[in-house]
Subunit: 347 residues, 4 copies
């Protein structure tokens, strides 16, 4: 233990820089002259690889810088002016984006969450009641459903659940958008029964999160049916989301989609998360939610928290009235395997 200078950190999955391979490629290509705004060769290569990985040869793919920017650009870019988007009450766009979606003019309608997920039944009931109401034209008009995979609680949808929601969307003429800020950690989960090509079939647009899965920054938005709003560059730039040196994003995603790096580093995080889960179980520490992904939510006693003090970093999610707290431990591509062992020793 002696040589650990900084404490072990499980606070979140974007506390380091980028996967070393990404930095190596940035260095290697640094002085090559390439045109701007995504017309560079790296971006074109990354697009080709993502089309292949998603099984969508005609997909439109665009690389944006961050999550909230991506959500605002996609939602505002695809919705009609009067359209609203439906999310669960804990959805990122509903809670943690400083009103960025409303800033573009669209209401976020919220439904109850179930361990962070939307239930198809809730969605259907909402839509049935909405259109049954004589005054529906006086209400914000739902034209999109927003899901996160994984959710804010680390849970994931099964393929069947996505199919059910997508069927309702098509029945009611809503688009389905899947926020994949942590997509890799969802797809790499042992509980996942869907892969990238499968996901591309059950929604209208989704994004492959880079920021939390090995990149310095960057999210790859995929419109599986070539259904991006056009002219796409204009739509993106209008939202302040067009990077002059598009190569920065192109190189990163080109690297992440070479030799399956994106899923390989995601699996690393999930392996450690499963070991974390086992560790908590072994120590009889209850889990607030059975999360199959890289975020784990153990309920710690004051004594346990005291033991971690100064040695292990994590997030307090919610303090309980009995003194205990729901906490969040996140692993990532960067988490050293030995940290699980060290945590076990401390706890």
């Amino acid at each position: 233990m002696k040589d650990i200078v900084t404490p072990l950190s499980f606070t979140c999955d974007y506390n380091e820089g980028a996967h070393p391979e990404i930095l190596r490629r940035l260095l290697e290509t640094n002085m090559l002259q390439e045109p701007g705004y995504g017309s560079d060769r790296f971006t074109q290569s990354a697009i080709a690889k993502i089309r292949h990985a998603t099984g969508c040869p005609n997909a439109d793919v665009v690389f944006l810088v961050g999550g909230t920017q991506t959500n605002a650009t996609v939602i505002d870019g695809l919705l009609p002016r009067f359209g609203a988007v439906i999310a669960v009450e804990t959805g990122h766009i509903a809670v943690h984006e400083s009103g960025a979606i409303e800033h573009t003019g669209h209401k976020v309608i919220t439904l109850p969450q179930h361990e962070g997920k939307m239930h198809a039944e809730d969605l259907r009931n909402y839509l049935i009641h909405f259109f049954a109401d004589d005054t529906w034209q006086h209400m914000a008009n739902p034209k999109m459903v927003y899901l996160s995979f994984p959710t804010e609680y680390g849970t994931i949808y099964s393929r069947h659940e996505l199919e059910e929601i997508y069927a309702i969307c098509r029945e009611y003429d809503l688009l389905l958008f899947v926020d994949g800020a942590r997509l890799g950690y969802g797809l790499a989960s042992p509980a996942a029964d869907i892969d990238l090509p499968g996901l591309a079939q059950v929604c209208d647009v989704f994004y492959i999160g880079g920021t939390k899965v090995g990149a310095l920054c960057g999210e790859a938005v995929v419109f599986p049916k070539g259904n991006a709003p056009q002219p796409l560059l204009t739509v993106v730039k209008q939202h302040g989301a067009l990077l002059a040196k598009g190569r920065l994003l192109g190189i990163q995603f080109d690297t992440l989609f070479t030799d399956d790096l994106y899923l390989r580093i995601s699996r690393h995080a999930i392996d450690l998360a499963m070991r974390l889960q086992q560790l908590f179980r072994d120590k009889q520490i209850p889990l607030y939610i059975q999360s199959p992904t890289n975020q784990q939510f153990p309920i710690l006693t004051q004594e346990q928290m005291k033991r971690l003090e100064g040695k292990v970093l994590y997030e307090i999610w919610e303090r309980l009235s009995d003194g205990r707290a729901v906490t969040r431990f996140a692993t990532s591509w960067a988490t050293p395997a030995e940290h699980i062992q060290l945590l076990a020793e401390i706890l």
Copy 2:
């Protein structure tokens, strides 16, 4: 000449990656765990250095990713809801931002440009006539002036010109915002009679461009009087402009403001631009505009352009009726000095 694989390129100042020192620092700090959203130690250090370099110990400083995003966030963040911004007709926000400013709800009012610059007299006349009109309340209300330093034509304002414009702004209760996407190349110009602390005194907000001056991405917005809209993080995030791994921007600007790197690499570009200018003069090639910064606008004949074909890249700015063309040659921090010599040999 044989071993030059790619042609010499003077097309623009953002075709390479980042200054090597920046990449070195990214690599060096890569695995250090730091909190997100700009609360990391690098960002804090960069803020301190910029406060020092601008002579504004109380300045608010925030790092955003790109130029259009910065313009939209600053303008929308500072203007009242009904406020309009005045720019010259060639201003970047008026022409090349896909309507991003209007997308946030604000009209861009345009005045004539003089080699890319706004004349104080035009501004004063506009405001006098505006408020003299009985129906001024029926018109979009000007509350900000937007200038670029250097302008789209590479020209720069003198300190006196800025003071004049700023005085008018204060008289009419307008804010003055200086877009410094290429600020380094302006300040490093032999024609400049103003420095960073000087600039900070004659406007309400400006930004120090990184993307075109050595960074992978990033612009440092400076509110000299601590006059950023608050809560600043909310304002930034609402515009999709908050980077999760704020360290990426912090490290870059911390590096650029260490040992005067920002101005040193700017001076390199300017030295080469002045040599370019001399070269054109030596060859009796007329210059469309006397630009004192890194963008030069020689008027080339068809014969000259033929000679450059396949060997030298540059931009066609405007084709003239006599077959000649106004062209743009840009140098940057990355331009090798020997390229000027090579160009001289070809031309």
Copy 3:
């Protein structure tokens, strides 16, 4: 009963035209030439009368055309760009304005409703938790509270309740906006312990609804402390809310505030509503909510509804599982007194 051609109607309070006195004044003044945009003498006279009636000699008063327009203009006009507005989940802006508030860029945050009202305690708890959260800057920033007087359920706030809420608003630097679409019916209620001058003291802005209280159209917005956003005409016009023939609104409010007409016709509606309430009680018909204003919510059996069929119009509010329905009966300035008697005979 024979001579009733159309059925008795209690469906809502805006099914007729205007109070006859208003039409008389429109006719009388029709050919007088007056300048536009609210600078006519009638508008000026109406402003003076409203300042007097509210006890606010320095109030800014502006006349807009309809409720949603008024809410959008006031909220967007007063909020900072990043500000959100808090309403109860049944608030008009949260449900029945087609997303007009979000269309101007502002999130509507919802709190639970209690018979249509916001509880001060809920508001305080929300704000305490909001600012206690480390990540509050990542959330939409509450800067205004929106209440309705009366609420969607016809209930009204006591002076004490308004004072409590206003105190919280001032403590947390939020503005308080009271939607008075049916203000007259609230103030005329026997349950009201507040009058116009009183209301003006416990909020930052409110409006006096005309459309539902005797006018063809029109709402008078009052900024008690002369605190309207300036330039007000620009703010109003930017929202498409400026009427060229402002006289149309001026004449109506000048009439409504002459000889106390506004409150007199409101009292008429309330008298009849109280008689309705008594009638339901006499018939052992339960009331869904104890509404002290012009909207009454009897729960009718299928048999009772059958009896009314074709003879009496009212709204179905909510169908209950036992076959009964919560219904809404609204009286207005235009309801003939004898209709209550006729209803009694039918029921």
Copy 4:
């Protein structure tokens, strides 16, 4: 002259109330109970009459309250989110709407005006150059052309001119919107070679102005091909443009489109305007523009203006350096014929 209490007024065409027939109908229908939001029988009847008058049996017709509101609702309702609208530099939306169009997020691109009109050639050149520019995706994307009929200078387009512009619009996939705030005065002009059905064929949407042509308020928007944005009521309400008592607009337009009232009263104004024009010619008073509609622009000397002082009201349009002034004299449905004679006597 003795008995003229107020001076003769030619200041504008919205200084009186409504045509007496409209008031008569408002009075007559006042106590009839009708549902709100445009579902009343008067609105339905007015829609039928306008469909007939425009020769468009499938047209969508909606009644809004005022001009700026109509422009903002139509433009924002029909444009894609990223779309810009092209107008001449003197166009109402470009100058006199307090930035209302930009407030909805859309840039107004301006072209030169020729006596208030757009030239097809200017439009074509603009579009050719726009799309010839490599960087067109970085610019606001034109998706609509906005014309006024008559223009701000009282001039009108010929059918041929409209056809030319519409052909360009279709070639470049732009919508054509005609602002008819004073449409009646345009169609009633002896110079007009187009009628309502003709106009409906050469644009995608236009509105029939009521406010300036006999109504208290109100504009009838016509989508000739049934091409209104849907759900239309939602779009309208989202812009704060839905009137609760829609009957107020329905009754007015039903009256204006009964027995050709709209064109009859327009012709009255035009007859008087032509007599005004003749009067100025007879007095050797030059006209700034040859306006064939209800606005006339005589250039008056200081002596002439002195003669009118206190007796005749009109607008100063622009003061000339020689002491003279371009002035505007407007007639309307309400101008008494004898006022022309009286003016002749004074001048």
